[in-house]
């Protein structure tokens, strides 16, 4: 027999009752009998959590003493589907260890594969037209930030642009656009969703002055077109937004949304797989377009030597080692040459 409190419907008036559970029936000392299947129990948390039971008469029956023993009696008569499995899990002895393992594994999974899978799924559901509009907005945004970003103007830039369109056509990318940004004193290039590729003027100036500079930069264009073809920029953008929104949901800190994501386009971390995919695409494209890949390899070698980028430890890098990339591309080149 368990001591409980019976609360009147629509009022806080309480009376003490004694309860027994017999053959699936809750028997109250005031004479009321209720089938355990006809009552509903508020979700319980914790091993000694009181029972708050809603009776069909709109009254509430509250059990605060000997709850474990009452639970055993009560649940014995309740169908499996009506039992509170979450509460059972929470009160299971090993649930904390399991949860901490799950917690660590879940964080690791979402930060690596999970967010990639979800970002890929979302990317595939975004139309190319919308991606193009997004890219246009990003370019407009760069301009509003004060970046001197414009279409090719001088002879060197226009020569590169001609090559850019040849490669874009070969790749079957419509609406491709080349832009030159004049604010940075670093040779660099990056892809923006929707078919936009941005070169720094320093990159064009440095390499287009060289004899085989156009060939070298064609490799860079082909690599960036690889990112465009596989929609890596959009995917990376969605992935970083996804991680930020999960963080926002978990911590309640909306300020991470304001990280100035477009400003970070230059630093957007593609995964190593994406970089390798873009490299493989670049080799295929330049071979198909009858372009000599050696100047491109030299350019990569030069960048490696000049900026020591291979010094960054392996585990901190989003890009594979430059030497490793060059070797892989050379291997691919041999394979494709045999093929075509």
């Amino acid at each position: 027999m368990f001591k409980g409190q019976l609360i009147k419907a629509g009022s806080s008036e309480r009376t003490t009752v004694f309860v027994t559970v017999e053959k699936g029936v809750l028997k109250l000392s005031n004479g009321e009998n209720h089938s355990v299947e006809a009552v509903s129990v508020e979700d319980r948390t914790g091993a000694n959590s009181p029972f708050i039971i809603h009776l069909p008469t709109k009254e509430q029956l509250i059990i605060t003493e000997n709850v474990k023993e009452f639970g055993k009696e009560f649940y014995k008569h309740l169908p499996v589907y009506k039992r509170n499995w979450l509460h059972r899990f929470e009160t299971w002895g090993k649930s904390l260890v399991v949860s901490i393992i799950v917690l660590i594994a879940a964080i690791a999974f979402w930060l690596t594969k999970g967010s990639d899978i979800v970002a890929g799924w979302i990317t595939n559901r975004i139309s190319y037209d919308l991606e193009y509009e997004l890219g246009k907005s990003i370019i407009a945004g760069f301009k509003s930030l004060g970046w001197h970003i414009m279409e090719p103007t001088n002879y060197k830039e226009q020569r590169l642009e001609e090559r850019f369109y040849v490669l874009a056509n070969q790749a079957g990318i419509e609406n491709a656009h080349l832009y030159i940004v004049h604010n940075f004193d670093m040779p660099n290039a990056f892809a923006v969703p929707g078919g936009f590729i941005v070169f720094t003027s320093k990159m064009v100036e440095d390499y287009m002055s060289q004899e085989d500079g156009l060939e070298a930069l064609s490799g860079v264009v082909a690599h960036e077109l690889g990112h465009i073809k596989h929609r890596h920029s959009l995917k990376a953008l969605i992935r970083s937004a996804l991680i930020a929104s999960i963080f926002t949901m978990l911590t309640g800190d909306v300020s991470v949304v304001s990280l100035g994501m477009a400003q970070q386009m230059l630093n957007l971390a593609y995964s190593r797989e994406q970089e390798e995919e873009a490299d493989a695409y670049a080799i295929e494209l330049i071979i198909k377009s009858d372009i000599d890949p050696d100047p491109f390899f030299q350019l990569m070698q030069e960048l490696k030597e000049k900026y020591d980028i291979d010094e960054i430890p392996e585990f901190l890098r989003s890009h594979p080692h430059m030497s490793e990339r060059i070797n892989k591309m050379r291997e691919l080149m041999k394979k494709y040459e045999e093929q075509y």
Binding site: T15, F18, G46, E90, I246, M249, L259
Partner: protein
Amino acid sequence: MTENNTEHFQPNENEGESETRKIPIQFIGSPGEYWKIYMINLALTILTLGLYRPWAKVRQYKYLYNHLLVDGSPMDFTAKPIRLLIGQLIVMFFIGLYFYSQITLNTYLAAILSFSFVVLMPLLLWLSYRFFFRYTQWSGVSMSFTASKSEFYFAVIGRGILSLFIITFPIAQKKWFEFIGRNVFWGNKRLSVNASLEKLYTGFGLYIGMLATGFYLLWLLITIVGGDEARMQTMTTSQKEAFAIAVIGGLIIYLVFILWGYSFMKSYTVHAIYHGLKIGEAKLKLRIKPFKLAWEYVKMYLFTFLSFGIAYPYLFARLLSQIANNSHLELPEGEDLIAHEVDSGQVSAVGMEAIDEVGLDVDFDIGF
């Protein structure tokens, strides 16, 4: 076999106050168990990319409420997680829109969204209070928050204006808590808060005093070890190292003073609100002294900081337990603690979810 609930009331031990009855308040949960439930729910939340969060939130509230017994009867949080999920999805849509404005650098859209959020903030907070109280229940009767939107806007603006000046900050707090208190009902019984202005000023004064003392000590240390600019330029390397150690030490002392000061303010504020709270004719009495409570706050903040926040749920439940177990209600003879349910309909969870996203929450006002 029945008996009236008044039999639970314990006779007052103090003969001088024999005309009141003591109604016990107890927290029967364990901080360790709450921490465990918090971690389990956190794991499930991360595993489901945040979709489980409403369930986690309700379960955490339920743990704290269900283990808080007033006169032997548990409190309850009756919100359905699915309603919170709907609220969360609506809020996430707007956050998504804000993301979009950031990605595309659409400053126009970002400005509209930010401005709307600031303007709508009191409305969201109002909704949040309505939601929180609507689904808070004791002894089968729900609470409600009855302030109108316009009253709430005026109260928020008034609080903001009074908080602008250091000297009127405690008055802003007093007015705010009293406003919230008189608009909360438990069934048909009104709550009221008569927050002690003396306590609020004491807490705030101690905070400002500790802040100023800490800063003065830091400045003194820098001046004694570092001296003036000319002396600093002629320092040897070892003198510079000693100076750096002194600055770091001074900053740690300063942080300790801030921690103590903030704990004093929090403790006196909680004391002022809870000790001045009435439910109908029942008065809440806090038996824990403000200095003792401040020490508990110091420990909570310190260990939260040292554990990078991981220990916070444990420490919060521990503090709640200490406050609850050192509280009781006093009811004048002849009065009862019986309320009748008033149907206040359904309330949207959008406000609660929105203000949660910016780190605010309507809770016991005991935590950070």
